[in-house]
Symmetry: C2
Subunit: 136 residues, 2 copies
DNA sequence: TATATTGTACTAAGGTATTAGTACAATATA
DNA sequence: TATATTGTACTAATACCTTAGTACAATATA
């Protein structure tokens, strides 16, 4: 068994946010991937250790990891651990297009309801991309 | 009292979708605004009439309208009705920027978790804007 | 003022989501 | 094989979400 890199990420929970714990965990992993702190092959904290750290039940961590596994973000193996996946080869271009379409649709409707139009959104995204790329 | 335009929109509900009724109503109003079927000053169906049409409780419609009022999408007055707001003058540029930032952040994280990067997103949005603008 | 029309407050029922308790199962490794 | 380490299944408690029932309140208008 190859020893994968076990990075020390600091997870935190906000009980008052209204966001479920398992979703907060997922979000933090996603953000760590997005900004490069986590990458392919990295090991996440074990279910038990993270549960102890965060003082919550192991099943709650397990649920977060399971959801990410379903989404293809991580791979889990009992007895071994949970690791960031090889980059989602399993999503076809067509499927990705569909997902993107639905994400964009929701997003545009929301933005629109705040009086923000597509030009603004596009400008914003371009600036964002040019100034501080999210992907490592 | 000026008689505002009362357009005939056809609302529908899908009980099997898992999306709450009040959210379905909000979504349909938002989409109607986005594609121009509804615009500033238009009156929405009354709470009661829409409740009868959709065969649900008036409070459910009321909740949808109240949420939209909080978001600044509509203005409600008892005895008079519910109308599409004058274009959100109440949102400052700074506030709008903040909202946009948080919307974009959520969106990018989601897209990223599906392996979709910003360039793809921007391309997609640009095509969308150029081909079939959402705003009338 | 009287009446119709509009939205609202308060409450409760039912369902769903979230989390924890407890015991278990799969894998790695000495 | 024995033991430690990893994740999991099943259940139940609690909280929250959604909707409806009922009665009410504010406004418009005859």
């Amino acid at each position: 068994m190859v020893m994968e890199e076990q990075k020390s990420l600091s997870f935190t929970l906000d009980p008052k946010s209204g966001v479920p714990y398992y979703k907060q965990v997922i979000l933090q992993v996603e953000m760590a991937i997005a900004d490069g702190r986590l990458t392919t092959g990295d090991q996440l904290p074990t279910v038990r250790s993270l549960a102890v750290d965060l003082k919550i039940n192991p099943n709650t961590i397990s649920r977060a990891y399971r959801e990410m596994e379903i989404r293809g973000i991580v791979n889990t193996q009992q007895g071994t651990g949970t690791f960031i996946s090889e980059k989602e080869i399993e999503i076809s271009a067509v499927e990705r297009e569909k997902i993107l379409a639905s994400l964009v649709r929701d997003f545009v409707i929301k933005a629109n309801s705040y009086g923000i139009d597509m030009d603004q959104v596009i400008d914003y995204l371009q600036e964002m991309r040019d100034n501080e790329p999210l992907k490592a």
